[in-house]
Amino acid sequence: MSAEIRGIVKEHARLAVNIDGLADDASLYDAGMTSHASVNVMLALEDAFDVEFPDELLKRSVFESVASIEAALRSLDAQAA
C-alpha cells in the first residue's frame, strides 16, 4: 500500500523534493505540499483505493505523511484497486 500511496503523492503533491528521499513519517507539508495540492492527493487516493474519506478524516494531520495516509486508509479497510 505504501508504494501506491507514494506513487499518488509523487504525481499530485507537487513536492519541492523527490519523495524517494523521504521517510514514511516525513511531513509532506514541510516538503512543500500545499493545501491545494493535498486536495488533489485526497481525490486521487479516493479514486485509487475506492474509498470516501469521511469529513472527520479530512484534516491536515491525516495527510501529513505517507504513514498517516496509510493508517487512515487501513481504518477505512481500503483495498488497492
Binding site: A16, S35, R60
Partner: protein, 390 residues
Amino acid sequence: MTVAADRDLAFLAAIRQIADDVAAPNADDVDRHARFPAEAIDALRAQRALSALVPAELGGEGLDLRTIAAACFELGRRCGATAMVFAMHQIQVATIVRHHDGSDFFTGYLRRLADEQRLIASVTSEVGTGGDMSRSIAAVLPADDGTCSFEKQAPTVSYGAHADDFLTTLRRGPAADGGDQVAVLTARSQTELEPAGTWDPLGMRGTCSPGYVVRGAFGPEQIVGAHWPTMAAETMVPVSHLLWAHLWLGIATDAFDRARAFVRAAARRAPGEPVPAAVRLSHVMTDLSLLRAEVRSALEEYLAAADADRERLDTMVAALRFNNLKLAASEQAPRVCQGALGVCGIAGFKNDTPFSVGRHLRDTLSACLMVANERIHQTNAGLLLIAKDV
C-alpha cells in the same frame, strides 16, 4: 448567576462605557485624520482589557472568547478602528495563550503583557505571496552565536507604529519550504520598522496600517509553539473571522440604529403621515438579522468545538465553516450600511449629522480585503471538491 458570569457582565459594562464615553466622541476625528485611537486604547489598558484572555494564574483577567466577541461588537458600534485594533490584539493573545505549550519564555511574556498591558501587532501578510498567509518568503536566519534574525516585506502592519510587540510569520529556516512556517514574537526594542508606503485609505483609517520592511533580532525561545499551520487552523484563522465578524456586525448595527433614529424623527415630524423610509428600513433589518444570525451561530459552533472536540477545528469542513462566516459577514455588513444610507438619504451622506453613515460604509468595505474574499473563495473551491457534508 455564577461568579464568572458576573465578571463577564462587569467587564462588558466597562467596555460599553469606554465605547460610549471615549471611543464614540473621538471616532470622527480618528477617521478624518487617519490617526490611531489612542484615547480609547489607553482606556482599554486602564480597564486591563488587553490581558482579558490571559489566564488569571498568569495575572490576566481569564475571560472567555464569548466575552471578547461581545466586546468587539460593542466597540464596533462606536468606533470601527478601535474595535479592529482591540480585535487584532486579542487574536494574537488567543493564539499565544492556546499554543505556547507552557514555555518559560511565553508564560513570562503573558505575565508581562498583563502587568504592562502590552499591545501586540501581527506581521502575517507579505509582499510576493499573493495574499496567501499559509506561505512565507522571509525566513528565520540563525546566526553562529545561537541568536536569530529576519527581514520581512510587509504590505500592511496594522498599528505597527503603536504596538509594543510583534507576532511575525516566517519560514522555519533558510532552507525550509514556504509552507513550513513558524511565528515569532519580538518586542519593539528587538524590531525595526522601516516605513514602506503611506496610509490614506478609504476606511478603517484609525488602524494606521501602512507597509513596512520589518527586521527582527531574537532568541529561538521566542518562536511560539511547535507547528504554526495547526495554530493557524485551530485558533488564529477562526478567531480572526469570529472577532472581525462581531465588530463588523457592531458597525452595521450602529448604521441600522442611525437609520431607525432617522425614520422615527421623520415620523414624529408628520404624525399620521406614511413614512416611506420606514419600509426601506424594514429591508435593512432583514439584511441585519441575517448577518446577526450568521455571526452568532458561527460563534456557538466554534465554542462548542473548542471546548469538546478541538480536532474538529482542524478539519476541512471547519475551515469551510469559518471561511463562510468571513465571506458572508464581509459582504453583508456593507450591504446593511448602504441600506442605512438609502434610508437616511442626504442626512446619511453628509459627514456631520446624527444620521451620518459614511464612515460605517467605508469601514465595512475593508472587510472583503482583510484576507481577500477571492482568495478565500479559491480555497473553498478546492475544499468543496473533497468535503462531504458542508
